[in-house]
Point group: D3
């Protein structure tokens, strides 16, 4: 029986404010105004590729909340499961982002405490939501933000799992939100529910205290928990404006690793959200192509690589463009300099 | 003996974010980035006119705090008494402002809770500060923001008074911060220390439950408290883009009212901060001209009227410009169309 | 039985390009990029007020079409019934708009010929669409654009009527698209199907060759055709930047005219789409308030007046704002200068 | 025998730098970059109306000079008689302009000393230039800038006169360049050569020490000198954003005054250059319509009025637009709200 | 006998709309507004280097046409042979351009069908035009746009040839306008008239079905047709932001090939028009230096390479700059970091 | 005894006007508006790092002078020793700057003659200034600008030296201001007073006619004059957008050279002022760390390298950022991709 959604995600929607080009937060007269947030980035990218997606979040009931909702819709993501905070202290969390240029690193200032999202509760969402989707995704950020979001996320993971949804989880460890041991303890409680697991090599080592090579680390998660697929991205930062990006995916059932040539010397315009874009591509590959990990790898790598060239958190490439990029990457057919 | 400062003021410094021109908060891709805040507006205007001023406030120890400090300095205001909040939850309060056009009113969304300023304590400032200024100014907003800012403000009023400073106070009642009775109770406790008192007719009636005409109301404050000077502004809002502005000042010692023709049909570009600009002009008139209320009136009215034509919270006219505007307003000398 | 939509509308979606502020088309280095179109303006305004709406249109299958679709979604309008033109000559119609300032009038240059919308056919839309809405709206522009759009529109009017939808029609006569006699002949053929009829006094006289006062003209339409409600807007253009706006609505069943004080001296920022905004408000009033013509009048007048203060074709005020404007217009409750 | 040009003009071309909108010179991060200058404004407006015009000036031989030349060409004005200054101290004169809003006046800061134009000499221009035009125009600004420009201008007036050109002269008195008596003495020396004389009532009184009403003043010039036509503009400045504009023209041969209803309540966007635009319209009327002073009046008033609505010094309306504005001003034909 | 023009060119002038920086067509709120078109790019570059050039084209008689004409003049190109389309369906062709960043390619969306240029006829131009120029240039785009432009172009080639002009032709094959065989058939008919022939190696192979190395291919054209000079550019696209550019020129009379070191690792800002800039430099070299192919090579390579660093289609470097770049490229004299 | 200032500097403050991004001076509609000047760049950078600094300069007494003063204050630099020019020819010097992209070099057009700064005299500054600082800095540009600034600078060097200040001098040779021999003769007269000497290898060779390797050249200055420290920067310009930067410092007393790995492949955003930033870092290192040349080297190299990534002349990095960059450069601690 067909579900209304392919993918629902729980996460905070943030106002992103960034000075234009190479300007700095401490100077200048304008901020570019965008929205972002790890989980929103994921569903918005997946939606562009063709999945029917929706965002579960809580926004302030003011002009900023309306702005965020409008942007969500602009991205082709459903706002059916956005709830609103009418209390006087309602607020939209903010982050300030500044581009880097070697030897100056990109930098971020967060102002996301006390945001309306931190108050979201399972009871605010309709019961039927849990049966409406094929896949539910959330990340370690949502777990780390506040005790309430942690409880809500854990409860939702259980409820979606019960309703038959696939559970996708991205560790996305942030040292400014919680410590490694806190993350480890919490995440290990939800790993029994997770089907698709995104975890970088560094995080696996530092947070989960794994050792060995990346492949054996990936496999070890599937041995300890009933995880079907583990994906791990590999980014080399040559400078703030030049990255190389690739990934490895492990399919536990097949006991097989999927890899390809990385995208080398990406001309980075805005790196934020490229990790989330990877997840959007990988989930698209899995959900739209019968859990084909080769597709997940190719869509993940391409969607992430090209996200680096797009200003803002959110991807903006549709399936046609991504398919063209994959074909070029694989060197299929004649190469043209320009798409006309 | 000469003091380092003519005017010190305690108040919150806010990041102001506003869509350009007639654009809306719920749409658009840029915010104009400015700083503002009632007390900062006052000292920045007074500084432009020639007073040596400084701001007492608390800023987050991050890029936003540095930005705010830089802007304070740009305005010619001393940052000697800015203190910094290094805690992880440090934040700069924000307000979002959108211009109006009849029949659409200007609108403001506040996001100032939990700001670093709310934590400011008297002990963070150096002891010598209290003897360093001729005049100390604060407003009802600082009283209303949080219990801690209220205590700090009341304590500072007492300490500055003891050190021989003139105390200036602007009621600036904001219904979204506290109720009328709360304001009345609190402010009546500080009125015994106040020398120069700014209170609009509406606030006098609604908050202090005064009746009678505006002049008798003004006088009544000086009868109940040892207040020397009471000033009351009078604004007529023809539309969001057209205002008329004037004021009345009462000098208790002289038992005399000062009035002049209002500025009619002001071409309003940005109304925010024009009430604070009035105070900056009036305090300049009093402090630079031996408490001459005629000067206070003329500088107050001119500084406020012209502030309406300047984008952002902060005044930007120096003494030469204000003197020219006063001369034009009084019709002194030939009128030219343009200043060349 | 509840329908999926309150309002569906058939019409062209145009790319609007306008120089910023008072700049001219013949000079300058940027265009502001927006979308517009009479029917889109109507549904987008109605959606902001709370109706569930959708747009029936045809877009080129290229980046411009994707842009237009994204904007439709941003406005809260469903893109379920947008179809795409994959032929090599697919194009999005364009209009260039330049603001006026007395004595310079606003001006428009159209480049909408050969647009993909002109090719839209009934068969491209799913059968179930006709039963999915409470109301269908289109305008004389759609009739005038091309023979094919005329046929499609007439066919859709009949099909929606058969399926029980209310038919709303706006004459919106444009002399650069067809002649008065052409319009009259065509529109008279569809009036037998129309329930809610929008026609200005000038158009009634010049196109339908009516005479008498505006009220008798309005009534005459309901006598000749089975029209339930006729609405006629009244705009006085004092200058390109100052308008006065009001309307009259006639309810045939009640044989009653509804009127109110016009909005006087509106501070016009962008006049385009304000007539369409009237329709969105009026339809909201009728559809959400049981065909209450008083509500239609108040929502229509307020939505149109405030649209004049918003850049671009599309309204951007939600129900809360419009209700506040109506209360202010009726002088209910204390008036504040600013919404905080 | 047909001449190459209808109108040549000698004058300085300035770089104009202005903060956007209502921003101030003392703040902000951008300047709008334009060119202007009294005589350039005249020929550029006349060129738009259809005269073949050219500019006689001297520019620095650097990127700023190239920029100025490109703008001159953009306006449809010939650059055949621009000469270049290759000396190391070559510079383009600059003026900074800031818009006003009541009670803040527009303001100008000049930085035009030592400009390359001040070095222009008759010998730099080709001999054939003097026979190539029907009319030569210059202004009191060129006379006042430097002794060398004064000598060059006087010499050119004589040489053009000898070659049969009509001489047009605009007093354009600027108190910051010379005194009234200096101006009087110098201009009286060239009036014997002048055919068309532009002088405002104020200047006639204050500089030429005339009295009586404006009409008798205008006539008196033609009695003292062999001047054919005298034009005098009349501007009422209601506020920096609202002006009323009209003029009177006196034809000595006919002994007749031409007047019409002024343009009332012009919505002023940028007032600079509107006096020069008047001259461009008046000269067009005279040169293209056989010295018809009615045409000169109508084209002058319309071109000037509409210039006030255009950003920058330079007019941008062609003959079609001006004809439409004149028709609307005279109330000929039905009035439409918008040019489509 | 001296001709009025060195170079006239027939081609379409397009409005170019591009999102700023790395923004995308499918998002964003502004377009940068420029003009471009292969032949305009050629004459505008040649004009900057010092040739007297003019454009033969047809523009709509509306504000967009005026804008295009103004830009043509701004570039120093004569508008004597621009004709205007007054029909109601007159339009300026458009193309939308988006920058790339690896792995995202630059992309173009065309909307040039039904443009006024497609209607241009030989009879609209004055007879004397054909004798007024030393050289006539057009490209395969003009041939491909429409049957009418093909006929007009072929007819003009013949007429200019008869009048003694040198004929320059750039194949500029565009697969979205016509097929290879169509191009081959058409172009082979005009090659008997061509003196200077621009054709890339790829096009020679794919369209003209040539084989062998690039030099033998170039020579073969001169063996089959009375072509004097063949030029072939060689571009290596390392990424959308890094190119290497060089060329080979073959002089049939001398039977000699001209080559130089390519410009390596060009920092590409806007690649569009750099091929056309090559032609402008090469034609300048040939026409201004007695058909010296060494000059053509050096000016062509330098003008093209530097065009890549200039936003928009049109070159903006004058002879002094190009000479400096050539000297630097050849390592002549000390190298400075900056031109002061 | 503690001095009021750590560092005072004498130099011109210029208005800098630059087209945005890769736009050119000869085109475009905006200039970015900044201030700069070699000595201001030095003190502003040093102030950000924590030194108490002030600028000695002369500004016009107009809006441009006020703008410059405000920017000086914004940078945390004292305006106590700014004096104002009230004469009618007062002006702020200007320079126009355009970015480069290979093969187009960055370019500068100066318009700084006759600036108010050229009139600055020692007597305009208060006597106590000379005893108020630990260090005085100026450059060869101030010596070269005009005879008067040369005399003033030499006089100030002597007066500061007498008052016990350390004298810092940067040769900063500019061939467009004076010749090598002029520079040599003048500078050799002040070298007897200099303690800290900044001179590049090229300048040492070309201007001072030194030979040998860079180290022996550096040492030779300390042998001929009582100079304590000589610093020499080494910049490799790979292209306008990629530089490598390092330096050598020689301490005469220790007879020791300090060097470190250069910063390679800096992603250059705006190269202007990076040499001055070096001096600000080096002086900070020396003055804040007891003349520790290792600190001077590290702070100099880091401050200069990162300045290249900041738009405008002026540095904007505080001590925390520079310390972080130095740690990263030395590879201390784990490397993160982003500062959060």
């Amino acid at each position: 029986m067909k579900k209304d959604f392919d993918l629902l995600s729980l996460g905070e929607i943030l106002l992103r404010l960034s000075p234009p080009d190479n300007e700095r937060i401490v100077r200048g007269e304008t901020f570019q105004k965008q929205v972002g947030g790890a989980e929103l980035n994921v569903v918005s990218g997946a939606s562009l590729l063709g999945l029917r997606t929706g965002m579960i979040s809580k926004l302030p009931d003011n002009a900023l909340g309306v702005y965020a909702k409008n942007r969500v819709r602009f991205c082709g993501v459903s706002d059916d499961y956005l709830v609103y905070d009418e209390e006087p202290d309602a607020r939209l969390g903010i982050y300030y982002y500044e581009n880097g240029a070697y030897p100056r690193k990109p930098s971020v200032v967060y102002d996301r405490r006390h945001a309306s999202f931190c108050k979201i509760r399972v009871e605010e969402l309709p019961e039927e939501m849990f049966a409406s989707t094929r896949c539910f995704h959330t990340s370690g950020i949502t777990l780390a933000l506040a005790e309430n979001t942690r409880n809500t996320a854990v409860e939702m993971i259980k409820r979606f799992k019960e309703s038959g949804a696939i559970i996708s989880f991205d560790v996305n460890f942030r040292g400014n939100l919680w410590t490694g041991p806190e993350a480890k303890e919490c995440i290990e409680k939800i790993l029994p529910y997770v089907d698709i697991f995104f975890c970088s090599e560094d995080t696996a080592r530092l947070t989960f205290l794994k050792d060995g090579d990346v492949k054996s680390i990936m496999k070890s998660f599937t041995e300890e928990y009933p995880i079907s697929i583990v994906a791990s991205t590999q980014r080399i930062v040559h400078s703030p404006k030049v990255h190389t990006f690739g990934s490895v995916i492990y399919n536990a059932k097949e006991d097989r690793y999927y890899e390809e040539e990385p995208y080398r010397d990406i001309e980075v315009v805005d790196r934020i959200g490229s990790g989330d874009a990877y997840i959007s591509g990988a989930l698209y590959g899995l959900l739209a192509h019968g859990f084909d990990c080769r597709k997940a790898l190719e869509y993940g790598d391409a969607t992430s690589s090209v996200k680096n060239t797009i200003p803002g958190d959110l991807p903006s490439c549709d399936l046609k463009e991504i398919d063209r990029i994959i074909r070029n990457h694989k060197g299929v057919g004649g190469q043209v300099e320009m798409d006309r």
